[in-house]
């Protein structure tokens, strides 16, 4: 489909220029970089997926490593989105008609819109009729849209793993009206294991693979048999997920109280610092909830590993996570799966950094 007319060095230069423009908050220069590349004959798909997408990943990594502030990250993302919009109107962006119709949407509460936006543009370039519903699409909106348009398939995007239960609802809802779902995005795992677990009809690791998969055709779910149960979620019968999610606020409060009692340093925390600590704990509980939903120890361990990296980058010792996990372990001692997951994560933290008594600093 795409024949790249620029060599690797050319792409490197483009990425470098775009990186400088988006991190320098220079929207016009960013648009210039992209539009000049198109004028020079670089295929639009290459610009989208080999220039804009990698620059955006670099923005994410830079935030994680504390080289960009939240504000810079948001600004860079906003500029990237505008650049994609500008590209959509460039004359190089002329799709041949194809006939199929695809709905592209983000799961409810998922605000990372760029991966879905890039896919929508790539599909348009490849000749699909695309309905792009954007970020945070409530499932009822998605289903109403499917009823009225009769799309051939839904491409559902989710970046944060905590959206997986919501993604499950959306997948089931689309299938219930007879529309197959292609799942994509970091939330579904690097190998798509969570897409399979939640019963998605297909999964793709990136926009090109997604476009190929959709072109191959995804068979529509069999409606004749009625609603199907997702295999592999039998573990939900133990109610651990439901109970943990339902008592999230209480758990956060209990962990916070434990930390305040055992780490006098926290008494000196300002209200915003205390709130950030509470938010971090809420995040841990949220990820534990999703790990219970998917019964995936890796999901929780990966989250703890990622958090440790973010904390370390912000000069907060990663071992400060340990007391919070311990306190959570005490609260959830009657939950075998949760206990197992917390144990594994603690094991990982201990391996990575030997513990000493340290006050639990959040990213405050």
């Amino acid at each position: 489909m795409t024949t790249t007319t620029v060599d690797a060095t050319g792409l490197d230069t483009l990425r470098g220029d775009l990186w400088a423009a988006v991190t320098g908050r220079d929207e016009f220069r960013a648009a210039d970089v992209v539009l000049r590349a198109l004028d020079a004959g670089t295929p639009a798909e290459t610009v989208l997926l080999d220039v804009i997408a990698p620059v955006q990943s670099r923005v994410g990594r830079a935030w994680q490593a504390d080289r960009l502030t939240v504000a810079q990250e948001h600004a860079a993302t906003a500029i990237a989105e505008r650049v994609v919009a500008a590209l959509a109107h460039h004359s190089a962006h002329r799709p041949e008609p194809y006939g199929g119709r695809i709905t592209v949407a983000c799961v409810d509460q998922e605000w990372h819109v760029l991966p879905a936006r890039l896919l929508a543009e790539v599909l348009t370039l490849r000749g699909w009729k695309v309905d792009f519903l954007g970020a945070q699409v409530p499932t009822p909106h998605l289903v109403a849209h499917l009823h009225s348009t009769g799309a051939d398939a839904v491409a559902l995007s989710s970046s944060i793993a905590t959206r997986l239960p919501t993604a499950h609802t959306a997948i089931t809802a689309c299938q219930a009206v007879g529309v197959p779902v292609l799942a994509g995005g970091a939330a579904f795992g690097v190998d798509g294991r969570y897409a399979r677990l939640l019963g998605a009809d297909a999964w793709a690791p990136d926009a090109r693979a997604a476009a190929r998969r959709l072109a191959d055709g995804i068979p529509a779910p069999d409606l004749a048999a009625g609603r199907r149960e997702t295999d592999g979620l039998a573990h939900l019968a133990d109610q651990e997920y439901t109970l943990v999610v339902r008592s999230r606020a209480r758990l956060v409060g209990a962990v916070l109280a434990y930390l305040e009692k055992n780490f006098p340093a926290m008494a000196e925390y300002s209200a915003p610092q205390r709130e950030r600590t509470a938010e971090d704990i809420a995040h841990i509980v949220e990820f534990l909830g999703v790990a219970l939903y998917t019964d995936s120890d890796d999901l929780f361990t990966d989250f703890v590993r990622w958090t440790a990296a973010v904390l370390t980058a912000r000069k907060v010792p990663a071992r400060s996570l340990r007391p919070a996990l311990d306190a959570l372990g005490v609260e959830l001692k009657d939950f075998p799966r949760a206990t197992r997951m917390l144990g594994r994560a603690c094991g990982h933290l201990d391996e990575a950094v030997p513990t000493t008594d340290q006050h639990p600093g959040a990213s405050a």
């Binding site: 908050r25 220079d26 929207e27 016009f28 648009a31 210039d32 539009l35 502030t69 504000a71 948001h74 600004a75 993302t77 906003a78 500029i79 989105e81 505008r82 650049v83 919009a85 500008a86 959509a88 409810d108 509460q109 605000w111 819109v113 936006r117 309905d131 792009f132 519903l133 954007g134 970020a135 945070q136 699409v137 409530p138 499932t139 009822p140 909106h141 109403a144 009823h147 009225s148 348009t149 009769g150 219930a176 009206v177 007879g178 409606l223 004749a224 048999a225 999230r248 606020a249 209480r250 956060v252 409060g253 916070l256 915003p272 709130e275 509470a278 938010e279 704990i281 809420a282 949220e286």
Partner: protein
Amino acid sequence: MVSPEGKTTTPTKNTRVTKERFAPASWGRPPHAVIVVDPAGTAARVDGETSLLPGVEQGMPLPDGLAWLARATAEAAADAVHRGDPEPPAVAGEFRGRRFEAHPTRCADGSVVWWLVDHTARYAAEEALTAERERTTFLAEASNVLLSSLNAERCMAATARLASGFLADAAVVVAPAEGRQLPVTRAVRGGEAAQALIAADPSTVPGLAEALKGFPPVPSRWIDPTSLPDWLVPDGFGTTVGSVVVTPLPGHGVPAGALILLRTDTRRGFSENEETFARLFAARSGAALSAARLYAEQHSITRTLMRDLLPPRLHRVHGVEFAGSYRSSDARDRVGGDFYDVHPGRTASEPSLVVLGDVCGKGLDAAVLTGKIRNTLQALMPMAGDHERVLQLLNGALLNSDNTRFATLVLASVRRAENQVHLRLTSAGHPAPLVVRNDGRVEEIPTHGSLVGALEQITAHTVGTTLLPGETCLLYTDGITEARGGPLGGELFGDERLKRALAECGGMPGEALVEHVRMLASQWLRDGGHDDLAVVAITAPQTTHLSAVDGHTRGRYTS
């Protein structure tokens, strides 16, 4: 022949059994047909219900229709495995339209006594039961398929596919005419349904015009398959049509179309039973189709009516960046009690008017009032320079109308001069606008005034401010500050938290800032319910370049 008195002691088991089992003379007339077939295939004796075996003569070879019994006799005689007890297994066969189960008993002389049990009625019942079970399963599956979609095209395709697969060799769904064209969906057994608009007169198909009006179906024997127009027969049907059924698809009180079933001339025609069943299926499919059409109609009406109630997509106007975001409290609704608008000034030197407001209440009722307020304010644009006057007129209009709702709003007159953006802001009972300075300071604009739609007399106090390049003025509704949630649950988000969050957003583009606020609210609420939420950012652009990306591009939120 075996003697009837042979039930005295016998030396071997084999002969004893034979003698005991067959002593017809002492039993009277057995209730089944009995034939003794000798190894040569001759009916050595015929007894019992001989009326079931017309043409079988004692002493004559078995007639052709009983060749299966002659074969079974030879097999039974040669069956070494079943020699002795038990007897060889029964065989089943047909004779003169009846179905028999023939149970053998071997005689010592090599002939076999066949007891022919008449199972004609049982087989018929079993076949009927199987057929009924298949139909029930089919109807259940068809209902699952038809009820799951509210899309009329999908329903028609499903109807054609299901009917061609189970009821006929091909099926055609004809929807009520759109103008002079008939929307037709055709499917051949095992294939996908194809849809087309065909300029054709339904009266060319016998019974179709009637079926489309909802009249009862014409029995298939009255339809001459050769009279069918070519457009009716789907591609890939292959051969000529042998039989046709045209049945109406009854909707909810209005005909939803017609279903035409076609069978090839190599298959038998439709029985009365099958036609009845086709009507049962048509009733389900018609109901589903009618529901889908009603939904589409309602959807289109709603969309048209809502077009003016949805918040507009904002973009750059006269050198000032505008960005907005809206989310209604109910995930099913797209509109609610919050609203915003940007009314551009007639020229770049005239200020544009930005309005953001909140009608008390939620849902459609509130949304209808936002529409009235937005229209009224647009009409008041010529006097937009005097915010207090605009608000007084709006207040009067609201008091004179039937509704008892009130509203809070904030007005902003926005004008760019050089690199700076000059603002005049007036709050009418609304949360004060916040200005995010480049150095991260967050200023609350001290404008205040009464809400509109409740009191006879209202006052308002307008405050001016200036944005330097990169600075943003944020208008928002209390959906964000009164969001309840947070890590510990049940806590208000509050003004202070919003200001603290905005303090990290110095120099952020308006769109990013709006997204950031929306994300904060969503994170704070987690899965909890929330009020309507509207945010508008007015931003002085960073540079004086004319943008290649002027914002007149497709928005990110086209829902």
